[in-house]
């Protein structure tokens, strides 16, 4: 469906004016406070226990609010934030290497290809400093130097060392910190925690978010939960591509259902592809595993010059290899940014020079590094990654070059929020990867963990006070017809999924959708491919509702039903993703339109026509959505074009 209408422009009314350095202070000062003794009277629903939800739930409970919290895993500690490897940025300038809040702000706006809001990004950089203090106080075991000081490393796209890390397990350690703070509040009775419980819909009454419908995944009971405000911290939607570095349960249901209830969805076409993931090994592949970007410091990327060359890599002589990144980008070589490295690999494979099963891979070769530095030095730098690679592929990367291929990794798009992290629906707050707020069209490495914790520990707890203090909330009970209505719609839908009893599995649809999106709306998108996708997605959705099969009943642990419900939402979400990509005819960050490139093949932005956030309003089933543009303004960083040749 290609029809959509353009609605009125929108603005972020919550962001204060004045010098950018003072805006967050100003907002905190103007925000109304809730008297500590009154906080107990407010219930807040938090969906999600990742870095964003975990930190928010703990902090709100510490402040004295009654928190009701949800996650679909069996424990809050398993949210997918746990899988983040590399690190978390903060403008501490412990290295004395010229870092500052302003520089982190600048790098992030530029890294996002000038598609994010200056006010938000500046605040993120300011708050980053407090995050590290908070995490250290909780006992997060960051890497240390011998003197006991915190260690830092560098990440892509920047020239300073500002990344804090805990070996290759930074996300796990930060999440455990938040989980432990959350656990303390659960024991204190300030948080009612519902693990293995999945949000199915949002309850909106008089234009305000007042609760959710959720299913107990063990008993199957579908219940309503009511509150004064709802916080969504449900993570990213990258799993829509089926094969991604996300967890198997990662989904878009919460944000998609909120969208259908009126919340704007911003920039859904901004998805990030990571260049160095382990390629799929066959049809059975169920997910992809990331290999750290740091490998590109010493590994050399190449493919055979001859198409369809099936010789083992060690049998291909030097002059029959194409080190294409070094050839095309002589000054940056193997260290070009993520999007460039990803597209170049795809081009090689599309031209038939890919290696490994299905020709979907390129070599990342450490032979030169081993000859130059010795095997021990390479092992000291990358040993754990080499082990992980070997565990998955069964190949020894000290002897045979690694095979890598790009994979979907992160979603910059998400629900639209203002400076207060509140959506256009009053009382609905969205934090972490689920919102669209800070990364523009491309996220820099180590900045998602920073954003999740900034939102949860510091930003949301300050701004949600203002909403609650303004009052005006009428009491709502479970018998309210509006509440009953949403609950029965959710139940009906589950019943419909169970009653199709067709002949295809849920996974087969998810795989097909993923392949379609990857093909038509992945690394390179064109008018033709997107129109094709928009033609095919509704058909696939129709087929799904005609021929999916979900065994069992709704009144039990039914993992197929869980999946079916998520995939049904992906099938709707996908259409908006492709439409957004079609409408944005420029290239920017992770969104590459083949029609919009520079002579040397780089993304060409079109600031005149596209320097805005695309915020989509749901138009109703079978009707096109409404596009609202939020113009972006740059007062502190001047937009420029990137070049890496």
């Amino acid at each position: 469906m290609i029809d959509y209408t353009v609605g009125e422009d929108i603005v972020d009314r919550a962001a204060p004016d004045g010098p950018i350095e003072a805006r967050w202070d100003t907002r905190r000062f103007t925000a109304k406070l809730v008297n500590p003794s009154n906080r107990r009277k407010h219930r807040i629903i938090v969906v999600g226990t990742g870095l964003a939800g975990g930190s928010a739930g703990a902090t709100l409970a510490e402040q004295g609010y009654q928190v009701v919290q949800f996650c679909f895993q069996d424990s809050p500690r398993r949210a997918h934030s746990v899988a983040a490897q590399g690190g978390i940025n903060a403008a501490k300038d412990y290295r004395n290497d010229g870092d500052s809040i302003h520089r982190l702000f600048y790098d992030t706006v530029k890294g996002g290809d000038f598609r994010s809001r200056e006010s938000n990004v500046y605040r993120l950089a300011q708050v980053s400093v407090e995050i590290i203090d908070q995490c250290v106080a909780q006992g997060v075991p960051f890497a240390r130097e011998y003197g006991g000081l915190l260690d830092n490393r560098s990440f892509g796209g920047v020239q300073v060392s500002r990344t804090f890390y805990a070996r290759g397990q930074t996300g796990q350690q930060l999440l455990i910190g938040a989980y432990q703070a959350l656990s303390r509040q659960i024991a204190a009775g300030n948080i009612e925690m519902h693990p293995r419980t999945e949000m199915l819909d949002l309850i909106v009454i008089d234009g305000r978010a007042r609760g959710i419908v959720a299913r107990d995944l063990i008993t199957g009971e579908v219940r309503t939960y009511l509150a004064d405000a709802v916080v969504l911290a449900t993570g990213g939607y990258g799993n829509i591509f089926y094969l991604s570095t996300n967890a198997k349960g990662s989904n878009a249901t919460a944000i998609w259902r909120a969208h259908r209830r009126g919340a704007y969805l911003a920039n859904p076409c901004y998805t990030q592809i990571h260049p160095t993931c382990i390629p799929r090994s066959g049809e059975h592949q169920s997910k992809l595993t990331l290999m750290s970007e740091s490998l590109r410091n010493d590994g050399r990327i190449w493919v055979p010059k001859r198409k369809g060359d099936t010789r083992a890599p060690n049998e291909i002589p030097e002059d029959e290899r194409d080190y294409y990144l070094e050839r095309i980008y002589p000054s940056f070589g193997n260290l070009v940014p993520r999007d460039i490295a990803s597209r170049a690999a795809k081009n090689q494979c599309d031209e038939g020079r890919g290696v490994g099963p299905g020709g979907l891979g390129v070599y990342l070769d450490f032979a030169d590094a081993i000859a130059r530095l010795g095997r021990d030095a390479v092992e000291a730098r990358y040993g754990n990654l080499f082990d992980m690679y070997q565990r998955i592929t069964g190949e020894n990367p000290y002897e045979v070059p690694m095979r890598i291929y790009p994979a979907i990794h992160y979603a910059m798009g998400g629900l639209w929020v203002d400076y207060d992290l509140q959506s256009n629906l009053a009382g609905l707050f969205v934090i972490g990867e689920a919102n669209f707020s800070d990364h523009g069209a491309n996220r820099l490495g180590a900045s998602a963990l920073m954003q999740g914790l900034a939102d949860g520990y510091f930003v949301l707890p300050a701004t949600i006070n203002d909403y609650l203090a303004r009052g005006g909330l009428d009491p709502v009970g479970p018998e309210d017809p509006a509440v009953r209505q949403v609950q029965s719609e959710a139940l009906d839908r589950l019943q419909r999924l169970l009653s199709v009893r067709g002949e295809r599995t849920v996974d087969s649809f998810h795989r097909e959708l993923g392949a379609l999106l990857w093909d038509k709306c992945g690394m390179a998108r064109s008018d033709e491919s997107l129109r094709d996708a928009l033609e095919r997605i509704p058909k696939l959705r129709e087929q799904f509702w005609q021929s999916v099969t979900v065994p069992g009943t709704g009144a039990e642990l039914n993992q197929e039903l869980e999946k079916a419900n998520r995939v049904a939402d992906f099938l709707e979400f996908a259409e908006l993703l492709a439409l957004d990509a079609l409408v944005r005819t420029e290239s920017c960050g992770g969104h590459f339109r083949v029609e919009s490139q520079t002579p040397d093949g780089e993304a060409r932005r079109d600031d005149e026509n596209f320097s805005h956030v695309a915020a989509w309003e749901f138009g109703g089933d079978g009707r096109g959505p409404v596009l609202h543009k939020e113009p972006l303004q740059f007062d502190y960083v001047h937009p420029t074009q990137r070049s890496y040749a």
Binding site: T59, E62, Q73, D74, S75, R77, R78, H80, V82, A83, E130, I132, D133, Q134, V136, A137, Q138, G139, P141, A143, R144, E145, G148, L149, L150, R167, Q169, Q172, I176, Y179, S183, R184, I186, A187, P195, I218, A247, K248, S281, G282, H284, S286, K287, T289, R391, I392, T393, Y457, F458, P461, E503, T505, D507, S508, T549, P551, G552, E556, L557, Q559
Partner: protein
Amino acid sequence: MNLTLRIWRQPGPDAGGSMVTYQVSDVSPDMSFLEVLDVLNERLIRAGEQPVAFDHDCREGICGSCAMVINGRPHGPEQTTTTCQLHLRSFRDGDVIDVEPWRARPFPVIKDLVVDRSAFDRIISSGGYITSPTGSAPEAHSILVPKPVADLAFENATCIGCGACVAACPNGSAMLFTAAKVAHLNSLPQGQPERESRVLSMVATMDAEGFGGCTNTGECAAACPKGIPLSSIANLNREYLHALRAGRA
């Protein structure tokens, strides 16, 4: 490859269970163990049968969701490898493989291979944290942590809460899990103020949840996918005695 899987099927918490035999053919050595279950499940679904329920999420060895006893060993035959990271190349064509849930009283079976591990969450919430409400933290560099201490804390903090240690232990003890958290937090300067109360209340919760005592068989550390060392248990015992002597419950 062709394999025979004998899988524990149990429709619900109160229902009886039994091992059911399935043949899977034409699977590749590059497949992960969970991908074999995916293939089997798709086949069962198409045949109108109930698929095998099992917990999993990240499929990269870090979330701690996956949990299967494979041929009698929690997480299967490979050292320091979770079930989701186990690949078929660790098996041989024609193998018969038994797949069962964690078996321990405090981890009741919910369905098939899915068990309830919420007792672990309650052990953590009884003291497995450092009290530091948001906003109260001092500047990070005001707390120096010598590298060896940081490394020790980190090594223990890598526990993924999977429960393999309990499943491996003949007594169903949760000592390794609890010890890892105590070693993580009690070794750090930030953890000192709650050092005694933490260990006393975590151990009390562990006992109250019905986990067994430790008889030093060491099966836990052998099964642990994150290599949490047995020495952490000795440390837990020292911390516990110290706390009792200090008389600070």
